[in-house]
Amino acid sequence: MRKGLLINLDRCSGCDSCIVACKLENDLPLGHFYNKVIAVGPTGTFPDVEKYWLPSQCQQCENPACVHVCPTAASYRDPETGMVLIDKEKCIGCQYCIYACPYGVRQFNEDAGVVQKCTLCAQITADGDGVPACVHNCNCGARFFGDYDDPDSDVCRELAKYPDEAIHTLPDPGNAKPLTRYILSPKIASWKELV
């Protein structure tokens, strides 16, 4: 099983609802985020300009560097669901996972002394039902959650509607194998590698 997010950038309006929903659901204080929406662009010269929004959070790497460097096994990949999570009881706040994550999507929580990141709302999704708050609250229907190995899951059904050229992952610096897929059709904007 490989549970993760799929985000359809053709539909994303950059409204930031996912950020707000995430902060509410996970009770994140000022300055703390599990996800951010990044503006890519505008690029080009008028009238040929383009811009898209890149909602960013843990990419649920299949070969996660954050897990490999963790000295206490606090960061782990759930063998059943494939979800990369942090056991805060075990985290010693050494922050090596922050240095090792290629996408800069982990944050150190000074008050708790532990590192935090998107949990795919495990408190909602662990029992197999329900979707993360960002997915539920995306008012453009741009976010999907499910098992990438199950052709009947929301993510696979949405992916099936698009040709390969519209399906992207963030660039991989080595062998991280980010699971999260982004849909961006060339007619909307050209995908930027950002590195």
Partner: protein, 303 residues
Amino acid sequence: MAIQWPLVLFSLLAGGAGGLLAFTGLSELLGGSRTVRRRASWVALALLVVGGLASVAHLASPLHAISAVTNLLSFSGISIELMLLGANFIVGAAYLGLTREGDGGAATKVFAVLAVVCGIAIGFFCGHGYVIDAQPTWSTETLPLAYLGTALALGAFLYALVAGLAKKPAGAEVARADSSDGAPAATVVASELGGKLWLAVLVCCALDAVGIVAYGLFLGFDAAGAHGALFWGGCVVVGVAGVLACGVAGMTAAATKAPVPLAAVGAACAFVGGIALRMLMWAAATGYLDLFSHTVPSVMLNL
């Protein structure tokens, strides 16, 4: 990225302690004074403790260090550093125990070899944990090489300093105690490592210079030079030129005339160079795709 001082200090102090232990082992194998070796081992143990405490200061709570210790077999970069920290401490302490009442015999030689191996390893692996894909400016084997070189140079000069300060050599063990110059400090230093101490120091200085220059070249002069004072001042002038100058001076009459000031200045240069190199590493870290560094999440504010 913000400079992580506890880690900067830990890696240099623990690596320097490793260098000291490696020189202690070499002295045991090649010849030298037991007094010097024992004092050097004590200094190494002290540096390992201070370095270890510095690294604990990096954690959210000092008690958390226990969790890392109980999960050593994860073989993460940190657990390898911890294992080597423990190994160096055990080797140093065992050596002191064995030589408490004179030469410990064959077992001492075994620990001497272990001291050389573990002492070199900790310098290298304190840098190797940082070789990760997510940090393009760290993802090079020149980084652990520079960590090793700076640590060895520090350990080497500290060993020469300990030898120079040991005015009262342990009699018969000093091969050339009756050498003609009559300066006790210089005599002890000159007899260390079978008379090859300053040559060994020079080799460590050369490694230090090669490591720093190699890492600087990897970063590129633009990226490294963006941190001008750190790179040109701390790394190049002090860490490379200063250290090399002291190393070369060790091969001249200066080593006989003023071994203690020479070793002290050398150790100071190696320390400053080692700190500057580690600061540069943190300052030059960019991340691969640092998505959350974009501080304004709201797109409206971007317009």
